[in-house]
């Protein structure tokens, strides 16, 4: 599956379809293809990200994008 995915990514690059996306996805694909174990430092980085999420996410929930607004008016709902 990993090799198939890599071939697909290469094909997409050749076809110039979504080059930016390929660039963004590459780290994940690289990670999937890595062998061996995570190092203690890599695990510590995951822990640090999680700790930051726990500290900051409650505040994020108060931001405007989390507010439920009424649906926009549509022509059929306009009086």
């Amino acid at each position: 599956m990993d090799k198939v995915l890599m071939l697909l990514l290469q094909a997409l690059q050749v076809a110039r379809l979504g080059n930016e996306l390929v660039a963004v996805l590459k780290p994940t694909v690289d990670e999937l293809l890595k062998d061996g174990r995570l190092t203690p430092e890599e695990e510590a980085a995951y822990r640090a990200t999680y700790t930051e999420y726990r500290a900051t996410s409650p505040q994020t929930l108060l931001e405007p994008q989390w507010r439920i607004d009424p649906d926009p008016l549509t022509p059929e709902s306009t009086p």
Binding site: L12, P27, L32, E43, R47, S57, T60, I68
Partner: protein
């Protein structure tokens, strides 16, 4: 999980979705854990700590995307706002539940708590996939 990530990556590529890098970098590695790392080989705890912040960021960015493009998206389909509103209403409780189950399992390491944590993580992963499908729909109409 490895297949899931790979499948999502393919779907995302084919759909041309503008995926946030955080989603990709935050996916749980499928590599083995270190015996001496902070997770001490506990795969469920590691996956929870990798997936939860990633999903939260993904949901938050999707809601910002929906807010920013609401008029255009509403014209395209009412389903996207309604799905976003469902997330607004339900996701905070799901996030809180995931955080609580993480803390409980981290403290007890009990099998029953491990199963509960794994179940909520699966729910979060499914939310991410659902978001991708909506973003793909929008991207196909040129809204990114």
């Amino acid at each position: 999980m490895k297949k899931l990530i790979a499948s999502v990556a393919v779907i995302v590529l084919l759909a041309g979705v503008a995926v946030q890098p955080v989603f990709l970098s935050g996916c749980a590695s499928t590599r083995q854990l270190s015996d001496t790392g902070v997770y001490a080989g506990d795969r469920v705890l590691f996956t929870a700590e990798a997936v939860t912040p990633t999903t939260f960021k993904f949901v938050n960015d999707f809601l910002a995307f929906e807010t920013r493009n609401r008029t255009e998206l509403w014209t395209l389909s009412h389903d996207i706002k309604h799905f976003a509103d469902k997330l607004r209403a339900e996701f905070p409780a799901q996030k809180q539940r995931a955080d609580e189950l993480h803390d409980i399992y981290a403290a007890t390491k009990a099998e029953g708590d491990r199963v509960k944590l794994a179940d909520i993580i699966r729910i979060l992963e499914n939310i991410t996939i659902e978001i991708i499908s909506y973003q793909a729909e929008a991207a196909q109409r040129g809204i990114k």
